[in-house]
């Protein structure tokens, strides 16, 4: 058992998989010599050498293209896109090439790729380095999408993503990097497509992702004091999506709140709201409510960014009001 930070868990999970599979390689900007701008890849160059841990130019298309070409010819790859906002620079590779090639070639091409990227706000970086882009990638058929909220999940879901034969976008939250957790020794492998009930409750269900999970938990503790028993689900994996865990919880509690860091329109919670109203509508006692960042670019100033991203206060207040 060792205590790991979220950022250390990234390197821990990658190292576990690179030891297991000598063919696995990784590439990205500043990942080798510098150990990553978020220090998530520290130590990997020393252990695995420059042939397997490669620094690249600032060329996001070339990074994802290299990952795709290597993967389709038998070399599994972990590619880092430094900030998830930069996915916009290489969206063609992700959305048009990596996501679609297996289908377009009737299964001739296999693409074992993990695209790791630092996602989310809270760092006062402004509108181009703070976005939560999970909905950008979730909407593309052919991509799997995971977003861990704890160090242990980082390790386990990293292993699951690497071992998955399909392309996975792995979203590491910038504001969780310093979080700590005890992580057991030995190999840790999780499963994609499994949500987790992180707090049991009976009055309402809160579905949250990544940074929104600890905030939802804290909000649930406050709600308890007000006599509202909230069940909190860490969605963890957007594609595949564990709808059964969510539907099961909603059937029990009869209310659903989603807590999303992404801007309002087309957030993942909208899809879950649609599924819930479609499939367990008669089990609901009230409307499905989405708590999201407003539909604005994220501002830089501390005061403004904190107003924008759902806070514990906002979550608790919204639920209190809508449950009332």
């Amino acid at each position: 058992m060792a205590q790991l930070t979220y950022r250390n868990a990234v390197a821990h999970g990658i190292a576990q998989e690179m030891r297991r599979d000598p063919n696995l390689v990784m590439l990205g900007e500043d990942i080798a010599g510098a150990g990553g701008v978020f220090k998530t890849t520290v130590g990997l160059l020393d252990e695995f050498g420059p042939d397997r841990v490669r620094d690249t130019p600032i060329s996001e298309q070339a990074i994802l293209g290299a990952a795709m070409g290597a993967a389709m010819t038998g070399v599994p790859v972990i590619a880092e896109i430094m900030f998830s906002d930069f996915i916009a620079v290489c969206f063609d590779l992700l959305a048009n090439e990596i996501a679609k090639s297996r289908y377009m070639t009737a299964g001739q091409v296999s693409l074992p790729i993990v695209v790791r990227t630092a996602n989310g706000g809270g760092s006062r970086f402004g509108a181009q380095h703070s976005q939560s882009v999970e909905n950008w990638v979730m909407m593309i058929p052919g991509l799997k999408v995971v977003a861990p909220s704890t160090p242990l999940d980082v390790v386990g879901l990293m292993a699951a993503s690497v071992r998955d034969p399909d392309p996975v976008v792995f979203l590491e939250h910038k504001s969780l990097m310093a979080d700590k957790q005890d992580v057991p020794d030995g190999e840790i492998v999780d499963d994609l497509g499994v949500a987790r009930v992180v707090r049991e409750g009976s009055d309402c269900t809160i579905a949250a992702l990544a940074l929104m999970v600890p905030r939802a938990l804290e909000a649930a503790n406050r709600l308890e004091d007000q006599g509202i028993s909230a069940e909190v689900i860490d969605v963890r994996s957007l594609v595949p999506l564990d709808t059964q865990t969510i539907l099961g919880s909603v059937t029990k509690t009869s209310r659903l709140f989603t807590v999303e860091e992404n801007p309002r329109l087309c957030g993942w919670g909208a899809e879950i709201a649609s599924i819930v109203t479609d499939e367990v509508f008669w089990d609901l006692d009230g409307p499905v409510v989405r708590i999201t960042t407003p539909h604005i670019p994220l501002p830089a100033a501390e005061a403004l960014e904190d107003m924008a991203i759902p806070s514990v206060d906002l979550i608790a207040e919204t639920i209190t009001k809508r449950m009332g």
């Binding site: 390689v25 042939d51 690249t56 130019p57 060329s59 298309q61 070339a62 994802l64 293209g65 290299a66 990952a67 795709m68 070409g69 290597a70 993967a71 389709m72 010819t73 038998g74 070399v75 790859v77 063609d92 590779l93 048009n96 090439e97 090639s101 297996r102 289908y103 377009m104 070639t105 009737a106 299964g107 001739q108 091409v109 296999s110 058929p141 052919g142 998955d164 034969p165 399909d166 497509g193 594609v239 595949p240 999506l241 564990d242 709808t243 059964q244 599924i275």
Partner: protein
């Protein structure tokens, strides 16, 4: 300037521009040291590509080929020359104008034609279509329809070959228009710094889509004149001469296989038809079209083989054999069923399915 005034002044009147004629550089000739059997194979390959593309056009006119298709008529020598210089196991990456490259690597013409017809016996079961032809078993790693991306993907295949020490070389074909998109430059830089075993081949057919490439590019030779920026040799070859293409291909592929890094080749050629099926290509100067038709790669090569002593009858036999193969391919394609619903929802994931939730 308003668009009306621009038109009045003839700025967009490309049909009355000076014709751009074939460059004199690096042309093939009878004396190149290429075995006659190799030349006959390239002749046969060019015949197959030509007759196949003409058949594809006919089937389009009969409304059997749907959507769009981008033909390689006039550009066959490049595909034939490079494919002959590649080894089994080498990789090919092509654009949406990829029928010729797919066939040149040995994919079955019937399965390719069936794909154009959207049939279940198509090489992609009808799921990819004309612009995405792929035959991994032949090293044909895909046809890519978004300009630029596949240069970076070819790098990845070359990187993989380099890591595995397999000796494979990736050859990546693209058009002149591709040289102005960012991915082209990202790919060349990465290939150069990693000394990847990859050969980039610009098929410069002088027309982006409907715009002359020289009007929208900072240098006269869109690929070759930029090679120096990446520390690469400036290579131009007559893309209408299979021997010239082959000789250059052998040289740059050997270089890549030896571990000496990438090359960028600019092959000058001409699209004998429009950009795609919808394009009658009336914007081209008639003198330009005529000059290039006079340099049609197949009659030129035919004449060379006669000069080298190949009997006319041998060439006729090749032509007729190819014609039979194309007829057979047509029958095979037309006989295919339309794909059923089981193909609609398959092959999104490695497990064969498309489930995104439980």
């Amino acid at each position: 300037m308003t668009s009306t005034r621009a038109r009045d002044e003839g700025l967009y009147d490309y049909a009355h521009r000076e014709p751009r004629l074939p460059a004199p550089e690096n042309r093939g000739n009878d004396r190149l040291d290429i075995p006659i059997d190799t030349r006959l194979e390239m002749y046969e390959a060019q015949q197959l590509l030509r007759q196949f593309e003409k058949r594809a056009y006919d089937l389009f006119m009969q409304n059997l080929v749907k959507g769009t298709s981008h033909l390689s008529l006039g550009q066959e020598a490049i595909a034939a020359g490079f494919a002959r210089a590649q080894r089994e196991g080498d990789y090919t990456f092509a654009t949406y104008r990829g029928h010729a490259h797919t066939l040149a690597r040995g994919a079955d013409p019937g399965a390719v034609l069936a794909e154009l017809l959207g049939r279940e016996n198509g090489i992609l079961k009808g799921k990819g279509g004309s612009m995405h032809l792929t035959s991994v078993e032949h090293g044909m790693m895909g046809s890519y329809a978004i300009i630029g991306a596949h240069l970076t993907i070819a790098n990845g295949a070359a990187w993989s070959a380099q890591m595995r020490g397999s000796g494979q070389v990736a050859v990546c074909f693209f058009g002149d228009g591709t040289t102005n998109i960012g991915a082209f430059h990202e790919a060349l830089n990465m290939a150069a710094i990693w000394a990847l075993p990859v050969v980039f081949v610009c098929e410069n057919n002088l027309w982006m889509e409907y715009t002359p490439i020289d009007l929208i590019t900072a240098v006269p030779n869109p690929a070759a004149d930029r090679a120096g920026a990446y520390g690469l040799e400036r290579i131009i070859v007559d893309g209408n001469d299979a021997d010239a293409v082959y000789e250059t291909a052998v040289r740059v592929i050997d270089r890549a296989r030896r571990g000496d890094g990438p090359s960028l080749v600019e092959a000058h050629t001409y699209r004998e038809q429009g950009h795609s099926r919808a394009d009658p290509a009336k914007y081209r100067p008639p003198a330009e079209v005529e000059a290039w038709k006079a340099r049609d790669p197949i009659p030129m090569y035919h004449e060379r083989l006669l000069r080298l002593g190949v009997p006319e009858g041998d060439l006729s036999t090749i032509q007729q054999d190819v014609a039979r193969r194309v007829d057979d391919a047509t029958e095979f394609a037309k006989g295919g069923a339309h794909p059923g619903e089981e193909h609609l929802m398959s092959d999104v994931w490695a497990d064969g399915g498309s489930a995104w939730r439980n």
